[in-house]
């Protein structure tokens, strides 16, 4: 009986206007979106390789980076083709300055202002906005409409259990929407593979890609179940469609945006700009104090005329410089320690504040399945909220390497108004390279498990609701 009902649902929808609309929309939006994002990714990848090449050419040795500091570049995320996420906002360059610490910069500029004003198309957008709407369109009158037409009575007058009817409706409509989605996805994937630039089937990428498809299917199922639920709760299809559209607008568009803005109001965090200004003010004042202590020390050891000799060769030092050099070590260490602890304290506090606000916002927003989907997809695509902390950790590691291999070899003498330096580079070693952190699949899963569980939960709850509502549905 289930097979027969399933066939009926499929054939019914296959010849309808809705199917044609779904086919057209999917075929236009999904492959075009993938193709355009692919071209954009290729451009960004080229810029990245160029930047790395030019940097390595200009800075072949450790000495060459000792004054200007070391630079690292962030490789564009392959799966930003599927989910743009934060890709255009993450830093492109990480600069380790010997004086000021780490700077992040984003030199993409405003290359395409119209895209910024009107928005981009990626798989995430297509599924969470277009296909979810289509899912609602397919199911809104599946129960209420049949009641209005009178065919539901006829079906139920047979010995068909109600749950079989419901399941056949769900499966039938899902398969029908899945056809255009699958076709356009295959076309899009073929475009990507034929370009040669997207190693979709490599060991590290394939599981991510499959998981992205899986979460998309979960989200589409949520909207199918929602459509079924509302259709089983109303008796007129026009009421059902109005309610569904409003729910869709609320959960898909309005609620995620509201929740993040509410979190910003509940728990405001200092902006990055003010934070970096405070950090550089603090560093400057520490620098001033350090220099004052050095000048004091120099006066004490009787170096009131001239300046200490700034050469690492201790045989050429005069007695004043010798005393100065041995005593300054303590001062240097004290300030290095102060700097390290204060900076890491400031950064830790700022990071915690931002993280707390982010967590509040995320948790509030998880009431909408679209938010859960968004978090899962962007994390899988490498353009989500996991990226910024990882970049910061990598940058700090890079800075430590630069400190150990480069900055420590620069011999500096600092007084109030004087800085003498000379360097001590024996070999022509290449400078440390910025190594992008590789995220393992299990790490990513750990990050998104909650969202995936929530998506499954939404499906179960909504289907249970539809089941109960249909069981009690008055067919007369």
């Amino acid at each position: 009986m289930f097979r027969v009902l399933l066939q009926k649902e499929i054939q019914d929808s296959l010849l309808s206007l809705r199917f044609i609309v779904a086919l057209i929309l999917c075929l236009i939006l999904i492959p075009v979106g993938m193709y355009v994002n692919l071209k954009d990714y290729e451009k960004r990848l080229n810029s990245f390789h160029q930047s790395v090449q030019i940097y390595q050419q200009d800075h072949p040795t450790e000495q060459s980076v000792s004054r200007s500091g070391g630079k690292g570049f962030r490789e564009p995320s392959l799966f930003s083709i599927f989910s743009v996420g934060l890709e255009y906002h993450l830093p492109t360059t990480i600069h380790s300055d010997p004086q000021d610490g780490i700077h992040y910069s984003n030199d993409r500029g405003v290359s395409n202002p119209q895209s910024l004003l009107l928005g981009k198309i990626d798989l995430l957008f297509n599924v969470s906005i277009v296909i979810s709407l289509l899912a609602l369109l397919f199911t809104f009158n599946t129960v209420a409409g049949e009641k209005e037409m009178g065919t539901l009575k006829l079906t139920l007058s047979n010995t068909v259990p109600r749950h079989i009817i419901l399941l056949s409706k769900l499966m039938g409509h899902y398969i029908i929407l899945f056809i255009p989605f699958l076709i356009s996805l295959i076309i899009g994937t073929l475009i990507l593979i034929f370009s040669g630039k997207v190693p979709l089937f490599s060991g590290e990428h394939l599981p991510l890609f499959l998981f992205m498809i899986f979460s998309s299917m979960l989200l589409i199922a949520v909207f199918f179940n929602l459509g079924l639920l509302i259709s089983s709760l109303t008796h007129r299809s026009s009421t059902a469609i109005v309610i569904l559209l409003l729910l869709w607008v609320f959960f898909s568009l309005a609620y995620p945006r509201i929740s993040t803005m509410i979190a910003e109001v509940i728990h405001p965090a200092k902006s990055d700009m003010v934070f970096s200004l405070e950090k550089s003010t603090m560093l400057k004042s520490l620098d001033r104090d350090e220099r004052a202590e050095y000048s004091e020390l120099w006066e004490r050891v009787g170096g009131d005329r001239g300046l200490p000799m700034s050469t690492p060769d201790s045989t050429r030092w005069d007695p004043a410089t010798q005393t100065f050099m041995s005593e300054r070590v303590a001062v240097e260490e004290k300030y290095a320690q102060l700097r390290k602890t204060r900076v890491s304290q400031l950064e830790q506090d700022h990071q915690n504040e931002k993280q707390r606000q982010s967590n509040i916002a995320m948790n509030i927003s998880r009431l909408s399945p679209v938010s859960c989907y968004m978090y899962a997809m962007s994390t899988l695509a490498g353009t989500g909220l996991m990226e910024e902390p990882i970049i910061k950790v990598t940058a700090r590691r890079f800075e430590e390497e630069m400190q150990n291999n480069v900055y420590d070899k620069v011999f500096k003498v600092k007084l109030k108004n004087y800085t003498g330096s000379s360097s001590n580079f024996q070999d022509d070693n290449p400078p440390p390279q910025f190594q992008q952190t590789y995220k393992s699949f299990t790490q990513i899963l750990e990050y998104i498990w909650l969202d995936m569980v929530l998506l499954c939960l939404f499906n179960i709850i909504l289907f249970a609701g539809a089941y109960v509502a249909f069981l009690r549905y008055d067919v007369r």
Binding site: L25, I54, L245
Partner: protein, 466 residues
């Protein structure tokens, strides 16, 4: 008779479920959006003022022209409360240095990652997505429901011209919608004036606000007319509904986004990163050329008497350095202008393609008036260039620090007062220039309205009521 029809439509709607939902959504989304946008704007403004104060403090004791980093900061646009536009994406830091020339930076990119992921909840979003959908929900069954229920036949059996019915439907539905919209706008204006971020009743601001609201109403009216048109061309509510949703998705989501992406593929433009790399390369080459030239001069002048040599080095280097600086500026300007003209061509193609959808016209017009659009971008770039030129004139051309290969550094101080460092004054575009930029879009919205209303009119005139 027209008034009676309008009254009937009004009463019909007022007691319906749709009206209640519209009231709720309008009030919640618009007022909440304005409230939160106001808070965000206040924070941005605070950040800007703090940064400016800290910058001014840091340049207080600056006496040496060498190593001066002249900074300019762009304040957030007050009307970004209504239409975020490019406000968060445009550079907000203009840095002019001797070594790296003019650099535009944006240090707010990672401030609110969740806002970036989901998008903003500003007035523009509420109007363009939510209100347009509500407009469709009001009118999709305007004609078809009455036909299905049989009341259209009854109405038409009276001696009432068909055009009065269709005009009455449009006006009745639109006025019903105006009620919650007006309530929401009043609440928002109260919130805005209570917050004190903007002197709302200063003439310029109030007129601007009225025009923005007017454009929003024009846009919503387009969708009312579209709903009426499709309803008058179909005979079942269900068909009308599906067709309208399809058109809505196409106009609001598909066409605007696809057009800018297609323009990027038809007419590709190099990325900003590539351009920056090219400029860095040019600067490096000029630096090398300068170093070589200076080395020669230095060797020549130092071959004789030290004092005489120093003076002659000063004199000889000046014209050579100036020539090289002009050459560098020419080359850099060449790269910039080339890039700019290609970007503008791509932008033109994209904007023409996107204007097939009324959403594009709404977005462009509203962002231009809110000073968060393309005009603001052009304004920023030209003011930055002016700022840099002034900095070069007043600061970067005084004194020098030449790194002569093989002979160390040769320096001559340039003493300046802190008040010689140019201050960046950012002026927003005045209202009349903004209107000049967006009259095309306003006209397009009017044309869409007329087009769809004529479609509804003709469709209804030929409508088979049986």
């Amino acid at each position: 008779m027209l008034v009676n029809i309008i009254k009937k439509e009004l009463l019909d709607n007022l007691l319906s479920f749709r009206f209640l939902i519209t009231l709720l959504l309008c009030i919640v989304l618009i007022s909440l959006g304005i409230f939160v946008s106001t808070k965000a704007y206040k924070n941005s403004l605070n950040d800007y003022q703090q940064s400016l104060a800290l910058y001014r403090e840091s340049i207080q004791g600056q006496k040496n022209a060498i190593g001066v980093v002249a900074k300019g900061l762009r304040p957030p646009s007050p009307f970004s409360i209504f239409a975020g536009g490019l406000d968060k994406s445009l550079p907000n830091e203009i840095i002019s240095t001797r070594k790296n020339g003019l650099q535009l930076g944006n240090n707010r990119t990672m401030d609110a990652p969740l806002s970036i992921l989901f998008g903003k909840m500003d007035f523009l979003f509420s109007v363009s997505v939510v209100m347009s959908l509500l407009a469709i929900l009001f009118t999709f069954d305007a004609t078809t429901r009455e036909k299905e229920e049989g009341t259209l036949g009854l109405a038409l059996s009276n001696s009432i011209p068909r055009y009065q019915i269709i005009i009455g439907k449009y006006l009745g539905n639109f006025i019903t919608f105006l009620i919650p919209f007006t309530v929401a706008m009043l609440i928002s204006i109260i919130i805005l004036s209570l917050s004190g971020v903007m002197p709302l009743f200063q003439s310029g601001n109030f007129v601007r606000l009225l025009i923005i609201i007017g454009i929003a109403l024009l846009f919503i009216s387009v969708f009312f007319n579209l709903g009426l048109m499709v309803s008058s061309l179909t005979h079942r509510s269900l068909t009308a509904q599906i067709t309208l949703l399809f058109l809505w998705v196409l106009m609001i989501f598909a066409m605007p986004r696809v057009s800018s992406m297609i323009a990027g593929v038809i007419y590709p433009v190099k990325t900003q990163q590539t351009i920056n790399l090219e400029k860095t390369l040019i600067r490096k080459n000029i630096e090398d050329e300068k170093a070589n030239a200076l080395k020669n001069i230095f060797q020549q002048s130092m071959s004789g008497d030290m004092d005489e040599g120093a003076k002659s080095y000063d004199e000889i280097r000046e014209p050579i350095v100036r020539n090289l600086r002009d050459k560098e500026m020419r080359l850099l300007d060449g790269v910039d202008n080339d890039f700019l003209s290609r970007k503008n061509s791509q932008l033109k193609i994209a904007s023409i393609l996107s204007r097939l959808s009324p959403l594009a016209s709404l977005t462009f017009a509203t962002t231009e008036l809110a000073n968060t659009g393309l005009l603001q971008m052009d304004n920023l770039f030209s003011l930055s260039q002016q700022f840099h030129n002034e900095a070069v004139r007043e600061i970067h051309s005084r004194g020098y620090q030449d790194d002569i290969p093989g002979a160390g550094m040769r320096m001559r101080m340039g003493w300046i007062g802190a008040d010689q460092i140019p201050q960046f004054q950012f002026q927003s575009t005045p209202l009349n220039r903004g209107l000049q930029a967006c009259w095309v879009d306003i006209l397009l919205l009017v044309i869409f309205n007329i087009l769809f209303f004529v479609g509804a009119y003709v469709g209804f005139l030929k409508y088979d009521v049986r």
